[in-house]
Amino acid sequence: MSSAAALKARKYLVAASASARARAAYRGDFLGSVIAYCLFVFVFSRVWRSAYAARPSIAGYDYAMSLWYFVVAEIPYFGSSGHFRELAGDIKSGQVAYLVARPYGFVGYRFAQAAGSSLVAVLPILGAGAALGGLVAGPPPLGSAAQAALLAASLALALALQILLQLALALTAFWVEENSAFLWIYQKLALVAGTLLPLEFLPETASRIARWTPFPALAYAPARILVAFAPGPSLRLLGAQAAWCAAAWILCLALYGRGRRRLVSQGG
Amino acid sequence: MGAISARGLSKTFSAKVKPEGLAASLRSLVKPERRLVEAVRGVSFEVERGEAVAFLGPNGAGKSTTIKMLTGILHPSGGRAEVLGLDPSRRRVELARSIGAVFGQKSQLWFHLPPSDSFRLLGAVYELDRRAFEARRDELAERFGIRDYLDVPVRKLSLGERIRCEIAASLLHSPAALFLDEPTIGLDVVAKREVRALLEELRADEGTTIFLTSHDIGDIEKVCKRAIVIHHGAVVVDESMKDLKHRSLAKKLVGVKYARPTAIELPGLEPVKRTADAARFEVDTRAHRIEELLRALVELGEVEDLTVEDESLESVIAAIYEDGAGRKE
């Protein structure tokens, strides 16, 4: 890498590490999200135990699979809160006018910041999930180093997609004042399409439609890679995640480009 | 009859000492280390009904703590307070009916609602009957010139308009005493002048006792007849504004500028600032006669400009603060 390019890349790394450290300073802040996550996992472990009391398997999932699925599927969601509100807030308050003038790629910079802070937030959740999952469902179904690597990559991509979609939704604040409605609809669809329940649980048609949306890439993919690893399908899931990330990135760039032009022409 | 009285009022907080480092933090969970902080130590003063008193002191002197004890929010750890014949710490709710409070930083108006709605709510809080409430509201709206804003949400008002509404709100129940903590903070010159005029008018017309803290000397000069200065939790000055101003007359600031460079030498007086052709002196009028000084300056060379100013009240008070600091232990 030439030194100019290295300098260019460096500012994104610095942004990521600065926001990571800022996040780490507010320990009480993510203690709350860890507690909420653990509570959720615990309650669902009781629900699943009750559901599996009378039958060994539902839609091809046994108790341990369902539980580990849930443990993983919730991680990207709990690890990525707040990015929408931050950016949407900056746009609505007009703060963004000062930010666009700086010498960096805006989308890349915001993504780096969000990723840095999410990385810090997600680690304790990951630890808590592993411990709690082991406690209520036995050891995780991790068979090989390859599976572990794919799982890690898939979780990273799920987190990245969460951030990118939140940023894209937040960028609509250039046009729509009350755009939190978009976030809600997005979150609830994600909840139903693979976060609370594996896709296989949905009715046939719903499940087939859901597979064509980005929602499975947010939760289903990493969870499925953990509980039902098979090289071919798992790689396909990973590929789909990467494709959705690329699409979301392009969407962010397009929204930002248009929004910025609007900002310049209308002065915010 | 006395409106506010403090006798040996004191307040000691016990603050937890936040230790550095993880091990010390853990230890402090089990056995927290505490440190006693004497915020107010034996403050005594009397305020008559209808008096307007400025309560001054540098940041951290114990002003807010004292006001909180006088209004019943904080309970004193020693001494006695009496406001309108009531002990604030025992009879806060009763006292609340006859005092008003404006804390510049804490609003009692609803941010998203027009003041008229907050007024109505306050009418219910103070149990005013409807007719009396409406008459009082209209009277205040007239006097404070806020009639046009009564139906505009508070968030759309300027700070000056908001503060006027804020003060009007605290007067709905016709309190006999009004406590104001930094009422003009952040206001522009015109808005400040308006608020001061209103307070002065209120005292004259309704005989409201006014107890005001401010860092703005203008507030104090325009509104108050007396100043109580506290420092490190104790009263260091309690005198009329007139006497306070007299202190400022004791020192004159003399500036002189000559048409060409001049050796500015006066026997027994060093300038505080000197350039080749100009100088500035601080003159203690008890030690030097001002007319002799001026004559001496004129004799030194061709004078282009000569100014004589009283020391500002602001520097008088600053000197009291600094002095008080020296007297601390």
């Binding site: 009480g28 509570l39 009750s50 539902i58 009350e178 669809l189 | 951290g60 609602l113 709510l121 219910a124």
Partner: protein, 269 residues
């Protein structure tokens, strides 16, 4: 001034009425936002309804709850939770208010600080929760005036227990200083446990639902009362709610004494 009990009661009723109407107006200042939040909350609840529908379709019932039971519990809890936040909007910010020293404003007014501070705000999205319960009730078969009345009474009782429990958790701030995470965790626990069938939880922890995390009096007993149309349980439940309120109030008074002493509250001199 009228100092009789009736006079006092009337003064408080006027005050609460004025407070509520100010709340409502303040919400309507942002009509679009209001509708959006209401709609958003309903959507959130509907997503969970979908989840339960799918799960119960697959299993035939969870922890003894049929799909209709789940819907009734969600309706009850949602309306009770909403009502608590609509009327007493500060019920989950009391601790922050105390820590920031903003209790002063309420202490300077001649009304009980507990009632005054709790009721001086409304939570916009809570209106969505409040309405959602009634929406569900209307969609369930067998709607009648009696069911509507019983539902409203049970939800009101649940709202009292919610408010008492939330406020009590917030009062920890008086004693611990910044207790945000702990208070919030208690809020989450109470809400979550109320929304799932009692029987899925281990018998060893169910005592908590009738003591420190009173989901039993918000969801489980009211559900039984509603299903059996058992009006006799209503006064008993209200007595329990009153006891929770009294305990919460006592905790607040104890906390207030610390506030008045000026210690523990981050000591702002």
């Amino acid at each position: 001034m009228d100092l009789s009990i009736r006079g006092r009661a009337r003064a408080y009723a006027t005050f609460l009425g004025a407070s509520f109407s100010a709340n409502l107006k303040s919400v309507l200042e942002y009509r679009a936002n209001f509708l959006l939040q209401v709609f958003g909350m309903m959507l959130n609840n509907a997503a969970f309804a979908l989840f339960w529908g799918i799960l119960i379709d697959r299993t035939g019932g969870i922890g003894g709850y049929s799909f209709e039971d789940v819907m009734v519990v969600w309706a009850l809890v949602s309306t009770a939770f909403g009502l608590a936040h609509v009327v007493a909007g500060n019920v989950r910010s009391l601790g922050d208010i105390a820590v920031r020293g903003e209790l002063d404003v309420y202490l300077l007014q001649p009304k009980d600080a507990f009632v005054n501070v709790l009721c001086s705000r409304t939570v916009v999205s809570a209106w969505g929760d409040f309405l959602y319960g009634y929406l569900v009730l209307c969609l369930l078969p067998g709607l009648s005036a009696g069911r509507l009345l019983l539902f409203s009474l049970l939800a009101a009782e649940g709202a009292l227990v919610f408010a008492a429990a939330f406020a009590a958790a917030e009062c920890l701030a008086f004693f611990l200083g910044n207790s945000r995470s702990l208070s919030e965790a208690l809020h989450e626990f109470l809400l979550s446990f109320s929304l799932y069938p009692e029987k899925v939880f281990d018998p060893g922890m169910r005592w908590a639902f009738y003591t420190i995390l009173p989901s039993g009096f918000i969801a489980f007993v009211p559900l039984a009362a509603f299903k059996a149309m058992d009006w006799g349980l209503v006064p008993i439940l209200f007595l329990v709610a009153a006891a929770y309120m009294a305990a919460s109030y006592a905790l607040f008074r104890a906390g207030l004494r610390r506030y008045e002493s000026g210690n523990q509250m981050g000591t702002r001199l």
